[in-house]
Symmetry: C5
Subunit: 356 residues, 5 copies
């Protein structure tokens, strides 16, 4: 079970806007990387103190992108918040890593929370969620990530190489690009889960067992978590698309529509997997019943053949003084004959009943 | 399982609008067929280079229909896109053959994606989806299909023979005609699936087995896929009907309403089949239980009859010195009599309990 | 299974508006009955050629009602369509007898499709649907029925006798009257189905069997079909009520509200029946389990009593040289004593466990 | 099964507005009680002829409340309808006692139908529904009830004693008071049903049986009926609250909001009971499986212990000439020793498997 | 079962607005604590008579917070109601402790009802609900609680210490703070329930039994109650956020949005738990079937091995005069040989069938 409610408790009783980082501490030192670009130039820098941002903040003709990996340095967060005039609740939400995906328009900036899931190192474990927060204004974008990961590298590469529209467009397009990259991760995740489902399906047909059931239930639970994150994701993308904030360029709309279509496709796939898992559960349960049927048939066949025979043998094992058959010379063989014909007719009966 | 998520991964990390054909390569060489018609004349041509379209493109008094079979020639796509001013995202969607059915209004043209399903060559296999894209503007329509098929032939025939309104109407009516033809395919598909369901129902009553269960689950899964495609289809047709684009002629509205009614009828049928399949699953499961009951009755009847008899025989097989019955002259026959009456009364009991 | 998709295929590939009658041919010759009435007079006539309508068509101060029984004479349909300026799609829908109930406003007339269900001649068969189409304009109403039936007779009777408002009101009130008559048929149908459900319930308690299950599933399926027809019926009546067409008189509104309440009541009853059938299925399945339990108890009781006894008998059937009990004079009777007390204590145990 | 559809059939084929009383005839003679009150005075009278109302009808400064118990006197109904200008459809609905709860605004009066349920005299029987109709205008309110009951007595008492706002308020407040009184009945009913559910729950844990199942299904069905009546009740109260009819005083709004909250609470309770009954069904079914498991364990333990023993006894019952063990002096006791150790090791095995 | 309907009955037949306290009497004497604060000062007092409030009531520049613990003193309630002009229905709702969470705008004040759940003292018991009512106007807030508890202490502490915005903001912010504190309780509750679910999951895998089933059903029921309270809670918070009452400061909106997000998160968790409990029920049921299978396998293996052997022993226990095998010197050992090879081949067969 993912214990996402736990973290909440650390904050109970504090006034709203209190900055408490709830979540695991993944890195020693938060990593800040700065990128400033426009159509002509790109500048990159790894920051050590937040003050270094200050120069870039006023550049109107360029996009300033600050990417933060690691959330536990609250002082740094407060400085960033002060520099870009972020609302205390935004900072609180960034630090409290158990948000539902959502989009909020604060007027001077837009705040977006997303979830990125990665597969666990060992098979069968729960999915590992990571919260990605994006804050963007007219000429800046700050993205927050819980731990260091190569997630943003392809985007940086694209900016450096000036591939696509990215260098010509504003911070809203950069936000779109990040969202798109995260949503692409869902497709990869779903492929892996789909492969697991497939292999479980094969197992279900060849050798169903209790562990198959537990595996199905496990993936079902992961689906519940994914679903819980994907539906609000769709909502968030949709409200980002429909917002009339001046921060969103009309040209970005079509791209967001595209991302929105992808979220619907992800939801579709998640729902399809859920339906398939239900079907697999039905197959499992009926295969358990089928095996019981088979076991009982074996028992019944054996009992039905040997009980009459044992009875017959018992009859001629009785010690009555006067039992004429016992005196007959061929009596013993006759009894064998009767026994064999009883057994054969039983077998014939079972074959007709299609039990053999 | 249809691996529709796979294809998505090929595109991960690329900027939007990158043209990558995801899907199988069905033909050696894309096939382009051109048709230009108005009320008076029809001209037909098979194109080899895209430049041959150029002359027709300006004809205001006729409808130019370019039909493309095979999507893997990206250069050709780019030329077509440039010629008709298609948005990069439209081209991307045409090539990425895992879209949900949808309709998008780009102002100067309308873009529609549909799915056409065909039955697999061998029974029990998954349905084969094909993506059909339609782009139409004031005087042109371009349709895209993944592989060569006779799907469009009846429409061409109708244009050649000037049957119905088609030669008098515009590109929007042609779009309607293509959509209608594809939706008719669904009816044929549903008939086939309905026949399968019927034959499975018969099988369920006469000789239910594990393969019946798997067959039911198979069709159930196909229904999940169909459903996933039919609901957005309805939406797409509905938004095409309600659009206030000047590209749609008011006279075509009634026809689209008709197509819309058909999509609802398809959804109805799909839902009905789903309900029927659930009912069949219930019957299957209860027939498994019933058979278990029957097996257990046979076992119980046999055991209940022969256990007392064997016991009796065992009693008179004991070697006690003093057992008066053994000395009686008719003892043996008396025991047979007792045994037969025990057996008969047991049979009577079972008949009264309705087990025989 | 009702093969309503079959009929669709006959039309595949034809241009829209092509008149093809899909459905069974129920009568030799379509029957046309004409009725012209206003507050003062009633005229009735059975038509042979459509031209005879022409005179009546212009009468502004009366309602002209043409009732057509039998749909297969396409020429006749085309003449009627031409006479009353019906849209080709309306004619197509009238002939294609697999429509969902709907209401369409064509401006100069309103088109309504309804389904009338009748019980099959033999018990357990599927419900027989019949499509009733109604077209009405300012001073005329044409109704279409697939086969001859006395469905309309009570309405004609009411017109002749001038009972109620009907002779004073217009074509819209006549349409209401016909819809009301058809919806009354649903109540009769539901009563019959309710009686079947009741008798199945009794059967379920007294002697449940595999045929009970099949009967429940049968009615369940009929319910699926009814439902499929009743929900759009509600929608059709509702949009008829809410329409702002000048063809509908405000005074008819209250009556349509009444009919609308009836459709909701029918839906309520259908849903209630569905819930009851689900409950019956649960009872059936648990009664199967219960019977298995009972069978197993009988087996267990018999086995548990006779196995120890047979063992005891077997012990004293052994041929050891030295077995002191065998020599005892009362040994045999002692063994009987032990056997009987074992049997009795077993019976006591089962009684305490509530198995007897 | 409540045969509410039956009654409908009596009316099939009649023109709308035909007054037919459908429902049981509960009283010999309809009972009319008249109450006229304002802040200063209260007058009460039991009417014999409808004409006696006439005087009171014009009183503008008082509320005239006519309460009718027993609906079968159609003449009386027509006189009342004529006196207060009721629409024929209202009268029809009052008499046809199988309405869904609803509220209809006829301009000069508001018509409300409600259902009052009472518990059946014998346990396990179906709930007894009674239809209460309320018609109120600017200065009058007429309420109709199928049979005589003390339902309205507390309200009359409150009017006589001038408790609360009732004597100061108008007919709309009286209507609210009656609705409130009826909804209070639901709470009493739900308490009784809740007690039944509780006692069934206890029974389920201590001694579940087939009758428990039938009792659960019985209450489940009653819940279906209650639900069917409560949801439209909510709707009716809601539309009464939201109506902009001048007949409703703004001050009554808050009270109706209160009643509305009560209907939601009733719905909540009904849904909760449904969920609990489903849970009980699950427990029942699993307890049936559990008992089967237990029965089978007893059988298996007995068989597993005695089959090897009986086999051993059988071996030494064989009559071979040369069987050395038989000659041993302690052979017999040795065999007993073997038998007892086999039995004990079996018991040990079962204890380890947790079957004992 | 929580008997929330019971309490309702005490009020049946009373006019609306009658003050009857329904609920348990938790304290001897209601406890009133008064707190008056603004940015500069805080005054605290424990009240004995309600008159002491009067002075504070007029203070426009401060927030007056009266917290009432214990609801049974109706006289006190009436005085409070008179002092702050509360509507009789508000007082009635405060006293009737079985409300659904809701928010009502009375113009001069806003009334909010919430539920606070606490875990029962002993494990497995039902959750203990407590009703918290909040009434706030421009400069005052009155909160009502059924029993004494430290729920409000952290808020008072925050006011005293002037932590966060609370001293600078108005009564609406105080209301938000109280709601937030109550909703935090849900997170703690859900954590406890989540731990229970986890431990039940472990139990389900290691040693499932009937008590596991009952425990699952118990938590499922608690979930039904929680759900019933959480959904209207969301609604109440949402309508508080969306209200255009002048009592709500725009600055509080963002905080309410935050609380609203929390309610959605609670709903999400509750729904996730429900899904998990359903999955656990499936696992439980299938583990019951699995165990039956196992029991039956043991029985079948034993029976299948020993029945043929016992039969063989029976054969050579027959007393025929002429049975050649009996005379053979090695006959006895040969039979043992046959018996052992039969047993071994049976064991081999079961091993191949994967039953061992």
């Amino acid at each position: 079970m993912q214990k996402n409610y736990r973290t909440r408790i650390a904050k109970t009783g504090l006034p709203p806007g209190s900055l408490v980082h709830v979540g695991e501490r993944h890195t020693e030192q938060p990593l800040l990387s700065l990128m400033v670009y426009n159509e002509q130039v790109v500048k990159e820098k790894t920051l050590t103190v937040i003050e270094e941002c200050r120069g870039f903040q006023e550049q109107e003709e360029a996009v300033t992108w600050i990417h933060v990996e690691g959330l536990h340095d609250i002082g740094l967060m407060e400085q960033l918040g002060a520099l870009y005039h972020l609302h205390p609740l935004t900072l609180e939400d960034i630090l409290y890593t158990d948000q539902r995906p959502k989009m909020e328009d604060f007027g001077n900036y837009i705040y977006i929370v997303l979830k990125d899931f990665s597969l666990p190192p060992e098979a069968g474990g729960p999915l590992l969620p990571e919260q990605i927060s994006i804050v963007f204004g007219p000429h800046f974008l700050i993205s927050f990530q819980e731990k260091q990961s190569p997630l943003m590298e392809p985007i940086r590469e694209r900016i450096r190489a000036a591939r696509g529209r990215i260098r010509k467009a504003g911070a809203d397009y950069l936000a779109y690009t990040i969202i798109d990259a995260i949503i692409d991760q869902y497709f990869i995740l779903l492929e892996k889960l789909g492969e697991n489902i497939e292999s479980m399906e094969d197992q279900l047909v060849t050798r169903p067992g209790r562990d198959t059931l537990l595996a199905i239930q496990n993936i079902k639970r992961e689906m519940i978590y994914l679903r819980r994150s994907v539906w609000p994701l769709r909502e968030a993308v949709s409200s980002l698309q429909r917002t009339d904030s001046p921060l969103m360029d009309a040209a970005t709309d079509l791209y967001l529509k595209d991302v929105y279509d992808h979220t619907i496709q992800i939801i579709d796939t998640v729902e399809t997997y859920r339906d398939m898992l239900s079907g697999m559960l039905d197959i499992y349960l009926s295969s358990v019943s089928n095996r019981l049927n088979e076991v009982m048939k074996v028992l019944t066949i054996i009992a039905t053949i040997f009980m009459p025979l044992t009875f017959l043998a018992g009859v001629y094992g009785m010690n009555f003084k006067y039992m004429p058959e016992l005196e007959w010379h061929w009596g013993y063989f006759m009894v064998w004959g009767i026994m064999i014909s009883v057994a054969l007719s039983m077998l014939h009966y079972f074959r007709r009943k299609n039990w053999l």
